[in-house]
Symmetry: C2
Subunit: 202 residues, 2 copies
């Protein structure tokens, strides 16, 4: 299945529509395109200008499928039809996407940010509650309840290979696990610097 | 999954775009919307004006899920945003869709037609060759090679229930099976009136 639908090449999508009702549909279309694209290519992050960025795993020397992820591609710049979305309109799209819980603004340090410090977005093609439920299901299905599991294991272990959250960056895992803690289904464990590194689901 | 994407409510999609390159993308978007919608709702036919029509099985007293199929809905008329596609542009969309093998023009008698006699279209969310391969796979998987199987069985039998071609109208089955005959993998059997009613796959 192609990750970008035909409408991606429809020029009117790139011009900020003056009518607010029309623009709302235009923004919904963009949000749908972004979500489906990232889901299809398993892209976790985009920079504020719409560039696909690789997650921090590359720092560990793991390059994996950078090509298929099209790292460096700017989704809002369609070279084929030579159209791009103006930054002011891109910001409007992000803002609505945040409001709908379909992306999470992240600052330089990798934490959830307020608008002024946002440098990139986690693309939540599933919302955080759905990620939490899926991860909970893994703990149940694989008999890992009441055990300490590191975020690294959750993301990288062969045991999660066939699960959609496999490969999820650790800070996104943190936000995806938080709903389980809020529901008292899990406790997070920190290292000596206060960084969450593991979780126990009960 | 919703059957109609957000772009379906994007007003510029309803105005025939004057620029031919833009219009080509616009038409691709419409073809994508029609295919996905029909696939999602298992709709086999649309009338030339875009109305969802029920297949001939209703004549046998089988009503099944008319509601979920939204029989009578006109896809090119979006009441929610009060926009509709002009018929001249609808014809342009069908014409391109036929060219791409993504729908089949059908006349009053249920046969493949030329443009002047078309009253409705079979929506081919899979192309005919792909349908042929899928049906061939069913014959192989269920050990039905070298047996005479009626088109009615293929479409309605419990044995095909979990297969995507289950419920396919018999005349569409005929066109979907033809590639197997062309490849000498199958022979069609006719009744006394010359109507194809069964097939033997070897």
């Amino acid at each position: 299945m192609a990750s970008l639908p035909p409408v991606y090449s429809f020029p009117p999508l790139y011009t900020r529509q003056p009518n607010s009702l029309t623009r709302r549909q235009q923004i919904s279309t963009w949000i749908d395109i972004i979500s489906q694209y990232c889901k299809g290519k398993k892209i976790w992050y985009m920079s504020a200008d719409g560039t696909v960025i690789d997650d921090d795993r590359s720092e560990n020397g793991k390059i994996d499928n950078e090509d298929s992820k099209e790292v460096g591609k700017n989704l809002f710049n369609n070279e084929e039809i030579q159209r791009s979305v103006p930054q002011v309109f891109i910001d409007e799209i992000w803002s609505q996407m945040v409001k709908e819980g379909k992306c999470l603004p992240i600052d330089q340090s990798g934490r959830k940010s307020n608008n002024s410090t946002t440098t990139r977005y986690f693309i939540l093609w599933k919302n955080l509650d759905n990620w939490a439920s899926l991860i909970l299901q893994w703990f149940e299905d694989s008999g890992k309840l009441n055990q300490v599991i590191t975020l690294y294991e959750l993301s990288e272990s062969d045991e999660t290979l066939s699960w959609e959250f496999h490969g999820m960056p650790e800070n996104l895992l943190y936000y995806s696990l938080k709903p389980l803690c809020d529901r008292n289904r899990a406790t997070m464990l920190k290292d000596e610097n206060g960084k969450v590194i593991a979780i126990k689901v009960v």
